[in-house]
């Protein structure tokens, strides 16, 4: 069990993360760290490796039980993910563990198909929609060094997350 510190947007690596060559022990440890850190963070439904300081193309997602979830693949860890197709853009407000003070209105595909490699080295293809599709696009953005702050439609799309006591 290894819960890592989630880095802030000021610390996070803005360069695209690197593909893994094969699923080795490093990848298995990374997968465990992603899941442990995700489980230890209340309300967290997804975490990308750059958020725990590892510039590798890997993330974990689990949107089980979320009120906006339609299609759900449960707990996922994916390496080298690629978006195959997407359609029906929808705008919604999202936040990020690495940007704790702000939220933003971001347009994402409602329907999404992605491919990647699972922790057993198997090819995985996922077709999904709604909240799981949004979460996957958000995490893949992290692997390209992008935050939701890079996707805002305009000044009206940026919001403060807290109103201070």
């Amino acid at each position: 069990m290894s819960v890592k510190r989630v880095v802030t947007h000021q610390e996070i690596d803005k360069k695209p993360a690197l593909d893994v060559q094969s699923i080795d022990n490093f990848c298995l440890t990374l997968a465990r760290d992603l899941l442990d850190t995700m489980h230890a963070s209340p309300g967290c439904v997804g975490l990308a490796a750059p958020q725990i300081g590892v510039s590798v193309r890997a993330f974990s997602v689990n949107v089980t039980g979320h009120k906006k979830t339609k299609t759900c693949h449960g707990e996922l860890v994916l390496f080298n993910p690629k978006i195959l197709s997407g359609d029906a853009p929808v705008t919604a407000r999202e936040g990020c563990m690495s940007v704790p003070e702000l939220t933003g209105d971001v347009t994402r595909f409602e329907n999404l198909a992605i491919a990647g490699i699972g922790i057993n080295g198997e090819e995985i293809k996922i077709e999904t929609d709604a909240f799981e599709a949004r979460a996957l696009q958000h995490e893949i953005d992290h692997l390209d060094g992008l935050l939701f702050l890079d996707r805002l439609a305009g000044p009206g799309a940026l919001h403060i997350r807290k109103v201070y006591k």
């Binding site: 407000r93 999202e94 936040g95 990020c96 949004r134 939701f148 109103v163 201070y164």
Partner: protein, 203 residues
Amino acid sequence: MQRYLLYANGPDRVGIVASVTKSLAELQCNLEDSRMTILHGQFSIMMVISVCPSSGDGAPASPAGDGQKYEDTNSKKLIENALAETAGHFGLYVSLVTLDDLSSAVPSQAVADASSGAVEYLCISVHGADKIGIVSSVVGQIADSGASVVDLATRLVDNAYVLVMTIALPEDASAADLEKNLVRVSSELGVSCNVSSASPDVL
């Protein structure tokens, strides 16, 4: 550190933002929160700026550059003087309000973080034919429900009026009751009203 709230407005022209921000940067002023927009042809700026006194560690050099000490007590005068030329050139009204540390640290009434579940954010949009009292009627319902307005914008184009706002609803208030009341006042005003969730999903 001294904070000011800067308001400026004038007929929209190219170069207002560049000129205002250049003057502030030359004085080592830091732009913090800001909103700028065009209201009926008036370019309107509101921003919180901060400036450090030059004495002490890590403070910026004297902007006067001639050995004149940059005292915190006269930073307001310096900023006003620096903006006077820009204001004259662009025909801007400029107002600088001193924020004390307390007022800048406590900007709003107490509502907690939405991610803790203690508050729900709602986006309310209202539109229809313009008439007196749309905002006051709608916001009156929001105040009665115990919610606070976080962000609000209105636009009047021809005779069409649009109001959009984000409100923070405390957990002990009922979104359903508020929506019912909003729909009622909206129909009395002959405008349509839509309420949607604006609570963020943390990914």
